[in-house]
């Protein structure tokens, strides 16, 4: 079937021949590899995107169900050529190691900051409870985002 949707502000059309997920559509058909596939079951958050304003695991959304939707991926989380304050803060705090979970955490954290510009550590942890990071132990991620409001206020 033909799937029409808006991805990172751009209208796109894709012919979906597979019973695949929105994640497959983004990565394989639309050339947006930033969203990562790590668990295929919505457990790790590596594929997090914002779908019509809601944070979702794109591996759990059927591609066909995204027809008519607006999707924001990590590639569209910031203005072109700029970093989102969350990205800036994570970079400075050393919150990136292997980086495979990082796009999903950026999207989830950006979603948090959109509704709560000054989250507490507990709120940050609750918001990222669906994102598994195997490298950092999460300490630098929490430190980064606790300080991110400073960057956002600038």
């Amino acid at each position: 079937m033909i799937v029409e949707l808006t991805v990172n502000g751009e209208p796109v059309t894709a012919r979906v021949n597979h019973p695949g997920s929105l994640l497959d559509l983004l990565r394989d058909d639309l050339g947006l590899p930033g969203s990562k596939s790590a668990c295929e079951q919505g457990e790790c958050g590596s594929c997090s995107v914002i779908l019509d304003g809601a944070l979702v695991c794109s591996c759990l959304v059927l591609a066909a169900d995204a027809h008519g939707s607006a999707v924001t991926t990590v590639e569209g989380i910031s203005e072109p050529g700029a970093l989102h304050p969350v990205q800036e803060a994570m970079h400075r705090a050393g919150a990136v190691q292997c980086g495979f979970c990082t796009p999903g955490i950026v999207v989830a954290a950006a979603d948090l900051f959109a509704v709560n510009p000054h989250p507490t550590a507990t709120e940050i942890k609750e918001a990222l409870a669906g994102n598994i990071c195997r490298c950092t132990g999460y300490g630098a991620i929490v430190r980064a985002l606790e300080g991110a409001e400073i960057v956002a206020d600038r």
């Binding site: 790790c44 990590v74 910031s78 990205q87 970079h91 495979f100 598994i132 999460y138 300490g139």
Partner: protein
């Protein structure tokens, strides 16, 4: 030669001891960093693997015709199609590239296919008809030991074996099978070069050893196979062994097309080796003052179906079976058995993790029997520089600040008495599972020790090249960046040694440079870092000698106040230096396990604070604080990242991470069922870095990747023991171990 005067004196940016931002940080944050999963090539096919559904079965027949009949299928390869050596292996090539007459573990590859797209490849894999005749699987390690199905036995005897102590404690301990669970699964792309050779871009910790194994099994000349470092989503030991590498190259050469394969998560759980499950028996004897006079240990590791690194993991487990303590009468017997369980091999800590849970549980038991403070007991027995390692007798030559680690832990303030009334901070989390009045707090300590670098006489070396470029310099290496920050630290070392600010790291393929060895054993900062330092130092000396200069900086070569060679002139020359660095030699131990088996050591200690709901068997790990011997922290932010990440993997092994086996079958090969610590499970961490000069690493640096994982598990177990009063003789600690002992 242009000259000018007036040198601006300043320190170059991003040198050792600072924490420059990662060069790959922004691409990773923007989703632009290219991982093996993201690779593509024109005309690329997709591959899939057929795996044994039995822990052990005779393969009576394989019919590939139904798969080949599917449109878009280009190749179905079996054991008969392996052109060269039929087996592979990191240390002993005993594992079939594709199972031939017999499949020996659940998930063992039997055939591989390549097709126009992934769905077709998977359909083709499912269409291959394999005639299995299930055989009785050997899954009990004790039985395997009885049948002498072993990869290696270890026997260590040191000192007078008749010594007995006034106080004796004995214990039996068990460690479950942990998985590295790197976020990126195994993935790769093989591209035929059109002349019979192949370029491989695949997840790896050690591209040169992959290349050697591909060469052997494809029957090619070494120069026909180039293995390229590529973006990797974590490793932790899971990427030392070959998995899809030979398969991809076979398919690429068979089809003449680029071929890509990405393991699904469930495949990844069978596609790489795991941390060995362990069964430990200990007897510690001490005098009334708490001095260890005799330690006896028995170590059984289940190596699974194929050798992988079981021999080396077993050796490590036995060499570190006493921990960072002195003792002059030691007997350790170890065995790594062969079963039909999944192959086990390298995971962060490499044998030192399992025994640490055993010996630290014993030290707590001994402290209890002696009515002594557990840290005081450890201090009395602390192994330090100049002492012989209790097992091998090797005298520790490099700094080993065990006492300072203990004193640092002692000095760390404890958190406020608990429990918290915040639901998220209670055992069971925000589900309001535990009531604060049912929660008890426990504090536990553990120390751990491990070697740094390869052991037992391995020729452990790394080559690095430093080359002057228009903008500064580049460090070329085949060492793998797995996320730990090697890409940052090698540049820092070269900046410090050259005296310039602009250095990049280029990860080059196996044809461009000699091996850097594996990104494992906490070794790359010391070994590839050592090569980088020496190459940069030599290059600087040659440049200064050539131009009779006394200072090299970002502007060029200076003689006194005069710029005698500007950078543009340097860059026009052909300035490069290649160095192969070797650490101090080690030897294989003798029949009693005695010898200089290790090049360097690191010690760390952890203090865990937990809240436990004993009735429900639930644990909340509140804090894991640490003091770690780091030599010199070349990049303090990266060191802290290794410490926090390593601790959380240790916490995972302590309370949740276990591959559950049922007759050789992994029952939980998904992230739904194999529990990984989330951000809500992560304890607060205070890390004290203990710096001492004297290690042979660059600027005295020691590897820092593994020590955080070694004793954190044992510290959490000790804290649970303190809170619950239970014996806690196995990790991970399950709710039933606390609530229904």
């Amino acid at each position: 030669m242009s000259t000018r005067t007036g040198r601006k004196v300043g320190t170059p940016q991003g040198v050792v001891g600072t924490s420059p931002l990662r060069p790959d940080g922004i691409p990773k944050l923007q989703g632009r960093f290219e991982y093996a999963q993201d690779l593509a090539a024109e005309g690329m096919l997709w591959a899939a693997t057929v795996r044994s559904p039995h822990a052990r079965a005779r393969i009576a027949s394989i019919d590939i015709a139904p798969a080949l009949a599917i449109g878009g299928v280009h190749a179905c390869l079996t054991a008969d199609d392996v052109p060269g050596r039929a087996t592979f292996g990191l240390e002993h090539p005993d594992q079939p590239v594709l199972a031939a007459q017999e499949a020996r573990f659940w998930g063992e590859p039997v055939a591989v296919v390549a097709a126009e797209d992934l769905d077709t490849a998977r359909r083709a894999a499912a269409a291959i008809e394999v005639g299995y005749e299930p055989l009785e699987a050997l899954t009990d390690p004790e039985e395997a030991n009885r049948r002498d199905e072993v990869f290696r036995r270890m026997r260590i005897r040191r000192g007078d074996q008749s010594v007995r102590g006034a106080v004796v404690v004995e214990g039996e301990y068990e460690v479950g099978m942990q998985d590295q669970a790197p976020l990126g699964t195994e993935a790769g792309l093989a591209v035929p070069d059109g002349q019979g050779g192949v370029d491989l871009y695949a997840t790896s910790q050690y591209v040169h050893v992959d290349q050697e194994q591909v060469v052997a099994s494809l029957g090619l000349r070494p120069d026909q196979v180039r293995s390229h470092p590529t973006g990797i989503g974590g490793a932790f030991g899971a990427r030392e062994d070959v998995n899809l590498h030979i398969h991809l190259c076979m398919l690429a050469l068979h089809t003449g097309r680029p071929v890509k394969m990405v393991y699904r998560r469930s495949e990844s759980f069978t596609g790489h080796v795991h941390r060995h499950p362990a069964w430990l028996r200990y007897r510690h004897e001490a005098d009334r003052d708490g001095r260890l006079v005799r330690v006896e240990a028995s170590v059984v590791l289940d190596g699974g179906a194929y050798a992988s690194t079981t021999s080396a993991v077993l050796a490590n487990a036995c060499y570190f079976a006493v921990g960072p303590y002195t003792c002059d009468s030691v007997a350790v017997d170890g065995v790594g058995v062969r079963t039909n369980n999944p192959p086990c091999g390298a995971m962060r800590g490499f044998g030192a993790v399992q025994v640490c849970f055993g010996y630290e549980s014993q030290m707590d038991r001994l402290a209890h029997a002696l009515e002594m403070d557990p840290l005081t007991l450890r201090e009395i027995n602390a192994l330090e520089t100049g002492h012989p390692l209790a097992t091998t007798g090797q005298v520790i030559q490099t700094p080993l600040p065990t006492v300072e680690v203990i004193k640092s832990l002692q000095a760390m303030p404890l958190p406020e008495a608990g429990p918290s009334d915040l639901p998220t901070e209670l055992p069971g989390g925000s589900g309001l599972t535990s009531e604060p009045q049912h929660v008890t707090r426990g504090v536990g300590y553990a120390l751990g020790i491990k070697n740094l670098g390869f052991s037992e006489g391995s020729d452990d070396y790394a080559q690095a090249r430093v080359r002057i470029t228009d903008s500064g310099a580049v460090v070329e290496t085949a060492a793998i960046e797995v996320g730990q920050g090697l890409v940052t630290v090698l540049a820092q070392i070269a900046r410090s040694a050259l005296g310039i600010s602009h250095v990049e790291v280029a990860h080059v393929d196996t044809s461009k440079i000699d091996s850097a060895g594996s990104t494992s054993a906490s070794r790359q900062t010391q070994v590839s870092g050592g090569a980088t330092l020496e190459a940069a130092q030599r290059l600087r000396e040659r440049i200064l000698g050539q131009f009779d200069g006394d200072v090299l900086d970002d502007e060029g070569v200076w003689r006194g106040d005069t710029l005698v060679t500007p950078w543009t002139a340097l860059a026009a020359g052909d300035w490069e230096e290649t160095v192969t660095f070797r650490h101090p030699p080690t030897t294989m131990t003798d029949d009693n396990g005695q010898g200089v088996a290790h090049a360097d050591f690191a010690v760390a200690g952890h203090r865990a604070v937990v809240d436990v709901d004993v009735e429900l068997g639930l644990v909340k790990v509140l804090r894991v604080d640490t003091a770690q011997d780091v030599g010199l922290a070349l990049n303090p932010q990266s060191v802290r990242g290794q410490i926090e990440g390593g601790i959380l993997q240790g916490v995972g092994l302590a309370v949740m991470e276990e591959l559950v086996m049922g007759e050789g079958v992994i029952l939980n090969p998904t992230f739904t069922d194999y529990l990984l610590p989330t951000i809500l499970d992560a304890p607060e961490v205070e890390a004290l870095l203990i710096e001492q000069e004297g290690s042979w690493g660059p600027y005295g640096a020691k590897g820092v990747g593994e020590p955080p994982t070694i004793s954190s598990t044992a510290a959490v177990a000790a804290a649970i023991r303190a809170a619950s009063g239970r014996e806690i003789e196995r990790v991970p600690v399950r709710p039933q171990d606390i609530a229904l002992p």
